[in-house]
């Protein structure tokens, strides 16, 4: 005890000791977007990640301010139109302040949007890392290049992370929100930088390229070549090897960069948001993803539940009202009164009210099932934000802002 005291006294007193992603007094979407600089929106396909990313970006620009960029993968044309853009491009475009003004809002900051173009992203990487122009052109002209960039080492995922890093490091934005590409596994995006490094460090790459360089087969590579030769033919194998040799000249640049990109995942300024609907499969994947993030010590900021039914649907008083409506529909008085008021034959009214009363129980059943899933999802993260089920598509900025406001509350 006595020995420790003087040591403690020499320690710098000013350093705050907050663990990244640690619980804070204020928890919620607004707080997260106000304190983080990179938000990675993930979740299973079809849950509305792109729309959520855009809605969050707009809310951050309006309520928090600064320059906010939404980087998205494959937006619906309608969403691009909603943001007042003809289409998203690979370069960042600002959403016109007039578009916000037309929707009746004056944002404190700026909202920018860009689309992720995998092909352009790869070409850009090659240009950056190629040691000279001749080699660069050789790679870009390689017939395997296009085919391969579309597939290998989860190339969409890597490019997504790469762009996030690039845009954040450009210093042009206070907040970058990225919506992750559809992938077979939502974890792919997290693993992408590691895989890139693994690929360049792999023994395979060395085996493939050693004989090409020295024209000498090592003992280790011999059986591989024998089998590979019989399976895919030596000509094709040589094409592949040649391509890899070209790639290997860029190893250093690629690996250094991938290491930087990977560091971004654990950067205290980064946080993940998991989006899910209240259906079984997406909710299952959301739970899987949340657990995987926790296991890897990556910060799960919160969960966004999309397309939730209003909770009033499962209140017993409402179900009772539906039953009463069903009974009243069969009696003549209500349909006669409504028929007179609307100038419609009472039997048409009767049919309609009967259907409404019956179908309510279907809706209530779904609402009840959803409530159960929702409470499961709420256990996963520090907070859960709810976006309601909409009866329309998002087709203008106003509807995107309305959705965002519901999340913000």
């Amino acid at each position: 005890m006595a020995a420790e005291k003087p040591r403690a006294a020499t320690r710098s007193p000013a350093k705050p000791r907050v663990r990244p992603g640690a619980a804070s007094d204020i928890v919620g979407l607004a707080h997260l977007l106000a304190t983080k600089e990179m938000i990675i929106v993930c979740g299973s396909g079809g849950v509305g990640k792109t729309t959520m990313a855009a809605a969050l970006g707009a809310q951050a620009a309006i309520n928090i301010g600064g320059r906010v960029l939404v980087l998205t993968v494959d937006p619906a044309k309608r969403l691009a139109n909603a943001l007042g853009l003809k289409a998203f491009g690979n370069t960042e475009t600002q959403i016109a302040p007039e578009a916000f003004a037309a929707a009746g809002v004056k944002p404190r900051g700026e909202l920018w949007a860009a689309m992720l173009d995998t092909k352009a992203g790869w070409d850009e990487l090659i240009r950056r890392h190629a040691p000279d122009e001749q080699l660069r052109d050789k790679v870009l002209a390689n017939p395997l290049y296009q085919n391969i960039t579309g597939r290998f080492v989860q190339s969409h995922d890597y490019i997504a992370m790469e762009r996030l890093h690039e845009l954040h490091a450009s210093g042009a934005y206070d907040l970058v929100i990225i919506d992750t590409p559809p992938s077979r596994n939502a974890l792919d995006i997290i693993d992408a930088p590691g895989r890139m490094m693994e690929f360049f460090g792999s023994r395979l790459l060395r085996w493939l390229t050693v004989p090409y360089r020295s024209r000498l087969f090592t003992v280790a590579s011999k059986p591989f070549y024998q089998v590979a030769d019989r399976v895919i033919g030596s000509r094709f194998l040589q094409d592949i090897a040649e391509f890899f040799v070209l790639f290997q000249t860029m190893e250093k640049g690629f690996v250094t960069r991938a290491r930087d990109v990977e560091r971004l995942l654990v950067d205290p300024r980064t946080s993940f948001l998991v989006v899910s609907t209240l259906e079984a499969a997406p909710a299952y994947e959301a739970a899987f993803l949340a657990n995987a993030l926790t296991e890897r010590h990556l910060p799960l900021g919160g969960v966004i539940v999309n397309r939730a039914m209003p909770s009033v649907m499962r209140k017993p008083v409402v179900a009772e009202a539906a039953s009463r409506l069903g009974v009243a529909a069969k009696q003549e008085k209500l349909s006669a009164d409504l028929g007179a008021a609307l100038k419609v034959e009472p039997d048409v009214i009767q049919t309609i009210l009967g259907e409404i009363a019956m179908s309510f129980h279907d809706i209530a059943m779904v609402a009840t099932r959803e409530a159960e899933r929702r409470s499961e999802l709420e256990r996963l993260a520090p907070f859960t934000a709810i976006a309601p089920a909409l009866d329309h598509d998002i087709h203008n900025l106003r509807s995107l802002l309305e959705l965002g406001e519901q999340l913000w509350r």
Binding site: V227, V318, D362, D391
Partner: protein, 313 residues
């Protein structure tokens, strides 16, 4: 021709539309009709097995039910089997390390992984181990690349065993009486867009026949045109007053729920009209209603299979 009379069906669709459930249901329906059926999951996430309330399927097919078998694709196992069958490598036990290395080539070289997977499926068809193979395939963004791999490889690789192997695969894949693609969608904007895009790609870049478009989660139409108009008028102040008088104040929530469902159905109908207008008129469209069920897993598969059976009469 009847969907279930083919030998190889690939089921695809955008994430979240119920692709796996539909694949499981088609397999179950075929098995119930006495066809010896294999259902194969391509992405090894275990969701197909979960649809049958089973633990994850292995590569080697496992019986799920009478005439119904399940497997999960695994490229390394497929390579092992392939080498054993066709290359007659004597030291199969030692292939492990080699296969792992090969995995990297397969990751990197275009089409190698795909052809190993497609090859396994075609092999099961060619050997007539099953009457029908149903594939819970890649999502619509990847399917043309996967299913078109044998043709691409055939063109890229000029010599070698793989080249020889692509010919018989193409005979199976490109024969519409044997192989078909089923694409699943829902009556929503993005799934419909993706379906239209996929079918364009399919026509341009492959020779695989479109067997059916399955529209999942279709909200039932509660009203005809006339009733639909009257429904909208029920939200006038006067009508609402009468409704509250008859059923109490909370009837407004009941009406709001009905209105939400009805507008979603109308928006969905517009998307379906758009889809139909983009498809050749002879396209086989199958509709599966939204299931208002509390259950998941096998129960849902049974309900969807039942709905499909009604559509396939």
């Amino acid at each position: 021709m009847n969907l279930l009379d083919r030998q190889l069906l690939f089921v695809t669709g955008k994430g979240g539309v119920g692709k796996t459930t539909v694949a499981a249901s088609i397999a179950q329906l075929a098995a119930q009709r006495g066809r010896r059926t294999l259902v194969c999951e391509m992405d090894a996430k275990g969701s197909l097995a979960a649809a049958f309330d089973c633990s994850p399927f292995p590569y080697k097919a496992r019986q799920v039910d009478a005439d119904l078998f399940g497997m999960a694709m695994n490229t390394e196992d497929s390579l092992r089997e392939y080498l054993k069958l066709f290359v007659r490598i004597p030291f199969v036990g030692r292939i492990g390390a080699l296969a792992r290395t090969f995995d990297f080539v397969a990751d990197a070289a275009p089409g190698v992984k795909e052809i190993l997977a497609i090859g396994k499926l075609c092999y099961e068809v060619r050997e007539r181990h099953y009457d029908l193979v149903v594939v819970d395939a890649e999502a619509s963004g990847h399917i043309v690349g996967q299913i078109g791999a044998p043709r691409v490889i055939g063109e890229l690789v000029q010599v070698g065993l793989v080249r020889d192997q692509t010919a018989w695969m193409l005979d199976i894949l490109e024969d519409p009486s044997r192989t078909g693609l089923i694409t699943v969608t829902t009556p929503e904007e993005m799934p419909v867009n993706e379906t239209i895009e996929l079918l364009g790609n399919l026509r341009e870049r492959s020779h695989i026949d479109l067997a059916a478009v399955v529209v999942n989660r279709v909200l039932p139409a509660l009203f005809g045109t006339r009733e639909s108009q009257v429904f909208d008028e029920l939200f006038s102040d006067e009508a609402q007053k009468l409704l509250i008088g008859a059923a109490g104040a909370h009837v407004t929530d009941v009406m709001a729920a009905a209105r939400m469902n009805e507008s979603r159905r109308r928006v969905g109908d517009d998307h379906l009209d758009r889809l139909r207008s983009e498809l050749p008129p002879e396209t086989n469209m199958l509709y599966i209603p939204e299931l208002f069920t509390r259950a998941t897993g096998r129960r849902v598969v049974s309900l969807v299979a039942k709905a499909l059976a009604e559509e396939l009469i």
